[in-house]
Each structure stands twice: as C-alpha cells, then as structure tokens.
C-alpha cells in the first residue's frame, strides 16, 4: 500500500514538474519575443530619427504589420497544432530579425545621407558668404570708380 501511494506521489510530482517546466519555457519564449519586438521597434525608430525617408519607413512598417497578422494567426491556433505553431513562431522571429537588420542598415545609410546634407548646407553658407563678399567688394569698387569718373566729368559753369 505504501509503495502504491509513494509511486502515486512520485508520478504526480513528475507531472507537476513537467507542467512547470513547460509553462516556464512558454513564458520565457513569450518574454524573449516581447524583448525582440521592443528591440526591433527601437531600431526602426532610431532609423527614422537618423533621417530614413518615407519609402524606407513604409517598407519596414509593412513587414511589421505582416508580423501582427502572423501573431493573430498564432493566437487563433489550437494548442494541438504544435507543428503549425512552431512554424509561425519561427516566421515571426525571422520577420523581426529581418526588420532589425534592415532598420540598422537604413539607419547607417540615413545617417550618412543626413551628414552629407548637413555638410552641403553649412558649406553652402560659407560659399555663399564668399560669393556675396566678392560681389560686395567689386560692387563697391565699381561704384567708387563711377563716382570718380563722374567727378572728373564735372564742368564749372559761371553764372
């Protein structure tokens, strides 16, 4: 009798442990996927801040919205469809990884573009100032010459 009850307790403990390990694994997967999502969003926002253009941003948003569709599909699956679940989870992770990589590439490109644009804007200021100074200088010179010429052309008329 003691043996039977001991076996029963042992079996129950094993089942409880298996359930705990399973739920911990699912919970850990969920936390990891949420963190991966946050990282992807942060990288996309960083790309936008670096100066990504609307087309580049739209491409990233389309991929992220596709990922939401996959998440909805995953939620609607029954717990028995393990194969399909694993496939969708992998697709979601791959989409997030792809978005992350693309966002970083876009951020680098956008950052370079922004730096070049800034350089052009500030250089234009210097070039503009030089041109305007030269124009002012020659303008003043010509005006002075004209006034000298006019002075020498003056005639004294007796009244």
């Amino acid at each position: 009798m003691i043996r039977v009850s001991a076996l029963l307790v042992f079996s129950l403990s094993l089942v409880a442990m298996a359930v705990l390990v399973q739920s911990a694994s699912v919970s850990s997967q969920s936390v990891n996927s949420q963190m991966q999502l946050s990282k992807a969003i942060q990288d996309v926002q960083a790309a936008e801040l670096s100066g990504a253009n609307p087309d580049e941003m739209r491409e990233l948003a389309v991929q992220l919205n596709t990922m939401i569709g996959l998440q909805d599909e995953l939620q609607n699956l029954s717990p028995q469809e393990l194969g399909k679940r694993a496939q969708l989870t992998e697709q979601i992770n791959n989409t997030l990884t792809k978005v992350d990589v693309q966002a970083n590439e876009i951020a680098t490109r956008a950052s370079q573009r922004t730096s070049i644009n800034d350089l052009v804007a500030y250089s234009s200021g210097v070039v503009g100032a030089v041109i305007a100074t030269v124009v002012y200088h020659y303008g003043t010179l010509l005006r002075r010459r004209y006034r000298v010429k006019r002075t020498f052309q003056m005639k004294i008329i007796l009244r």
């Binding site: 939401i68 500030y122 200021g125 100032a129």
Partner: protein, 202 residues
Amino acid sequence: MPVFLTLLIVLESVAYATTIPRPSEKFFQLYMLGSTGTAGNYYPNNSSSLKLGENVQWNLELVNNMGSLQYVSILVKLGNQTINSPNDTLAQASPAPLITEFKHFILNNETWSIPFDWQIANYTITADGHLRIHSFTIDNATYVFENSPVCPGINSCSFRLIFELWTWNVDSNNFQLGWSNGDQQRIAWLQLWFNLVPAGPR
C-alpha cells in the same frame, strides 16, 4: 572682413535653422466617423436605438503625431451606464469587458482608418427583467461574452462602446494605456452610446 563675417553668420544661421529638427508636441488623434465618412450619420435613420441584427457602419480613425513609428492597439469594450469610463487624470483603463482589439504599426503623420461595421447578434432578458448582450458581430466576426454588463430593463438602459488607445512601451515590453509625453501619461479614448429596442416597427 567684417562684411564676410556678417554674411557668414547670417547664412550659417539659416543653414542651422533648416537642418536642425524642430521640437513639436507629441500626440495621437482618435476619432470616429459615421457611415458617410463625416462626423454624423452614426446610426441608421439617425437613431441610436438599435434593433437586434441592425447594422451600424463606423470608421475609427487614428492619426499619429508622435514623430516616429508607433505600435498601437485599440481596445473595444462594452460598457453600460454604471461601469467606469477610462480615467484621464489617473490614466486608468475602463474595467468594462473587452470585445476585441485592433493592432497596427502606424507611421508618423499617418492616418489609420479602421472600418467598424457592427451589430448586436444576441441578447437575453432574464426572468427578473435584466438585459444582457451575449454577442456582437464586428466586421463579419462574432464575439461572444461570458460576463457582459447587465441593465435593469430594455427601456431603462443605455450601452456604450468604449474605444481605448494603447501603445507599446519599449521599456516595459508591453502595451500601456495611452502614451508617455515626458513625465506625463496621456490617454485617448472615445465612447458611443446606444439603446436596444425590441424588434418590430419603431
């Protein structure tokens, strides 16, 4: 030399003003349009008293003015007269039961338009005269309630659909009600009331 320096300062200031991003207020706009795409004609025959199975066409619109891409979720809840609305001061969500939610990544300055066609699919009146909505049909999908809010009777109760905006918080890795604006928590929500009337001519 003074001329050059003056011009340089002026033109570089212009360059600075054009290249530096301007700080702007960050916010969302959440609003509902009626069947004609305007702020009107929300209900069939302009009456918020609805019959079972009567179709209502709305368009829920969200505009992102946050300055960056945002992950948003709009929660649709069913309230009655007694359930609390979302609290703007404390930034608390309504305890009303959830019907469904819509999630989307919305670009900066983008307007997300959600067609929201719905009808009451089923309701019952208990022996003591309480009214309970059991299911809704929204965009051809049926949503069944376990514990929906009750009303004292069909002639003395208004229901409302509450729409709450939630955004993804990258620090907490979860959705939060509204959005953070510096130290402040801002929320956006709206509600539309309706009554149930027994089937038959009004």
